[in-house]
């Protein structure tokens, strides 16, 4: 009965966590193995627990029940039932053996009892006993940096964050609306593509061609306005030649919209997408467009986004693929009038859980004069607070670092750059002011 109660509860709450959190496998669902497997497979394939109608169309004979018992009770009961089912044949066999050889019966019983002991333990790594693994990984990182990190396309930012780590990396880029988040995201993606890797870009707000034109702008500096508006300032022959050359590259830049995910972008679907296209980097242009697979009735947006970001980080760890996401800062982030500064972490819209789960958080702001201000708000393995300024020509996709006395680059590099800037104008014919 308890197995049926658990299945009913999963369907009623649309939540598989009772199974996932308590390591309940198909063995526990004696007589309901098919139903159990169906639930698991459906969630894997579509990102959610099937609804009752779908489930009943597959298993029309099952009679679902109303369940008011707590998860704790149900789990204790099914574990007890499971132990019973496993114990009966052992006891029966021991009784048989006892009739002819009590020593053999006792030996069998002792051995079997150990196996009967259910394991509720979760796995882990002993970082003391397995320290050598760590050392080997360190050596690998040291000798083959390119296998562990991508550069991100902003040379000075790379110096601060040591690029994009190729595993266990969830980078959040946040800003208020219309500040260039998507451009920065695509700039990083384009750069990783230029390095020769496969990139996946989930674009909830723009179609593949719009992303493609931005790619052309970032990759080869074609005027974005010219491309978008079909203006004459694009040399059609030059563009045509460039377009003809692009497919000769072996690596891909896959753009998918919510329609490609059947309107529901879940982490499980992302996983399939990554595996299907053998992606090396994934970008999601708006975490709020994703669907939380762990959603329970009553969950608010904060919980939902926290769950999604947690699942994205797990995905990055599992598949060894860095994930970049864009998040919007709320209106309190930074005033439009405010001439300095980028939004603060606590202004990430609807969730501080996102920042909690991220390995790096980068805040950006674009001033009305086309200056892109970047600030590191969080990084697990490095300093925070580092600032950088870039002069950004949005039309040609060029980003030029503007050295500043308070930026986070190495002092000698910064001073050299400032000196070089001054030197450019040492030939001024006279003093202007």
């Amino acid at each position: 009965m308890v197995t049926l109660q658990i299945i009913s509860k999963i369907l009623a709450t649309q939540d598989l966590s009772i199974v996932e959190n308590n390591l309940l496998t198909a063995d526990y669902f004696v007589g309901y193995e098919d139903e159990y497997n169906y639930l698991i497979e459906h969630k894997k394939a579509y990102g959610n627990v099937p609804d009752k109608a779908t489930f009943l169309s597959k298993f029309p004979d099952i009679e679902l029940v109303d369940v008011t018992e707590s998860d704790r009770y149900l789990v204790d009961s099914i574990r007890e039932e499971y132990l019973y089912y496993k114990s009966v044949p052992v006891i029966q066999k021991a009784a048989e053996l006892l009739k002819s050889d009590s020593n053999a019966a006792a030996e069998y019983l002792i051995h079997s009892l150990q196996e009967l002991q259910p394991s509720y333990r979760l796995s882990g790594v002993d970082i003391i006993a397995d320290a050598k693994d760590r050392y080997n990984q360190f050596k690998e990182r040291k000798e083959h940096q390119e296998d562990w990190f991508f550069t991100c396309g902003f040379e000075e930012l790379d110096e601060l964050i040591h690029g994009i780590q190729r595993e266990e990396e969830l980078i959040v880029i946040f800003a208020r609306t219309n500040q260039g988040k998507s451009w920065v995201l695509e700039k990083m993606c384009t750069h990783v593509w230029q390095l020769g890797f496969n990139v996946g870009y989930v674009s909830p707000e723009m179609g593949a061609n719009s992303i493609g034109y931005r790619f052309d702008t970032l990759h080869k500096n074609f005027s974005n306005k010219g491309l978008m508006w079909g203006k004459d300032d694009i040399d059609e022959k030059e563009y045509s030649d460039y377009i003809a050359e692009l497919p000769k590259n072996d690596n891909r830049f896959i753009v998918s919209t919510p329609n490609d995910f059947n309107r529901q972008i879940t982490v499980t679907k992302l996983k399939n997408w990554i595996q299907q296209y053998k992606l090396d980097l994934v970008a999601v242009d708006g975490i709020t467009y994703m669907t939380d697979e762990r959603y329970k009735r009553g969950d608010n947006k904060t919980t939902t986004l926290t769950n999604i970001s947690e699942d994205l980080m797990s995905l990055s760890m599992e598949l060894r693929v860095p994930i970049l996401v864009v998040v919007q800062a709320n209106r309190g982030g930074v005033s439009q009038d405010d001439s300095d500064g980028t939004p603060e972490l606590e202004t990430i819209r609807d969730s501080d859980g996102i920042a909690h789960n991220a390995s790096k958080v980068i805040s950006i702001r674009q001033t009305k004069d086309g200056i892109l201000k970047i600030e590191i708000k969080k990084q697990r393995f490095g300093a925070v607070g580092g600032k950088l300024n870039y002069q950004w020509d949005i039309d040609t996709g060029s980003f030029v670092w503007v050295p500043a006395e308070d930026d986070a680059t190495k002092p000698e590099k910064r001073e050299r750059a400032i000196k070089t800037e001054r030197k450019k104008f040492s030939g001024d014919k006279e003093d202007v002011f």
């Binding site: 009038d337 004069d369 002069q391 503007v402 050295p403 001024d428 003093d431 202007v432």
Partner: protein
């Protein structure tokens, strides 16, 4: 940033050939746009010092060493009984020279601000974000021009507000340039109160212009 060469302050003197992505232009533009100066005051101006040779020489010296003037948190009071003889123009000239000296490595920060004092109190009475933003700017930038200070008698409240900001600036070692028409500490005291008058008169280099109104000539 799209550079319109005709807008560039250095268009007649610059010999560097590459205008695209010119950092000097974008840094100067940022400093100017956030300086509180109206567009027509963001242009370099030539001043004729023939009527006030001594004060002009002193100010030219300060201009030549403007970065140290600011870094040392110094203050200057340029005053004259007469109007239109170059007090404000000189103050702005010093501010622009400061921008010209520090644009490299500035990193798009607001460094100097021009504040017409009689207009300040209207903004400060508006308890909005722009009020907060202006107050923060006045409290923190390297150099503020307090133009036409004490041209009208301040209410106790206004004088108190101004004192708080200037007091803070002086304590933080930030530089100030005041311009005004009051030529004695007594007159200043009557207009802005003793404490503020003392900060302006006793803690500044005093420069008096005696030339006549030359607005029509400039």
């Amino acid at each position: 940033m799209v550079l319109r060469k005709e807008d560039c302050w250095y268009k007649n003197v610059c010999t560097y050939d590459f205008c695209t992505n010119c950092i000097r232009y974008s840094e100067m533009k940022y400093l100017m746009q956030n300086s509180g100066l109206s567009k027509n005051r963001q242009r370099p101006i030539a001043l004729d010092g023939s009527r006030d040779p001594e004060p002009f020489k002193l100010l030219a010296d300060i201009k030549g060493d403007i970065v140290n003037f600011v870094n040392n948190g110094e203050s200057l009071y340029i005053f004259s009984e007469k109007t239109g003889n170059g007090k404000t123009s000189w103050a702005i000239k010093l501010l622009l020279k400061y921008f010209d000296s520090i644009w490299a490595g500035n990193g798009f920060r607001v460094r100097g601000y021009f504040q017409h004092v009689p207009s300040l109190f209207t903004t400060l009475k508006d308890f909005s974000k722009s009020h907060e933003s202006l107050r923060n700017t006045l409290m923190s930038v390297d150099l503020v021009i307090w133009d036409d200070i004490a041209s009208t008698k301040l209410s106790d409240y206004d004088a108190q507000q101004l004192l708080i900001i200037i007091d803070q600036r002086v304590s933080d070692g930030l530089a100030n340039i005041y311009t005004g028409n009051l030529t004695s500490q007594d007159a200043l005291t009557k207009a802005v109160g003793q404490r503020l008058a003392s900060r302006i008169w006793n803690m500044s280099t005093l420069v008096e212009f005696k030339g006549k109104d030359r607005r029509s000539e400039w």
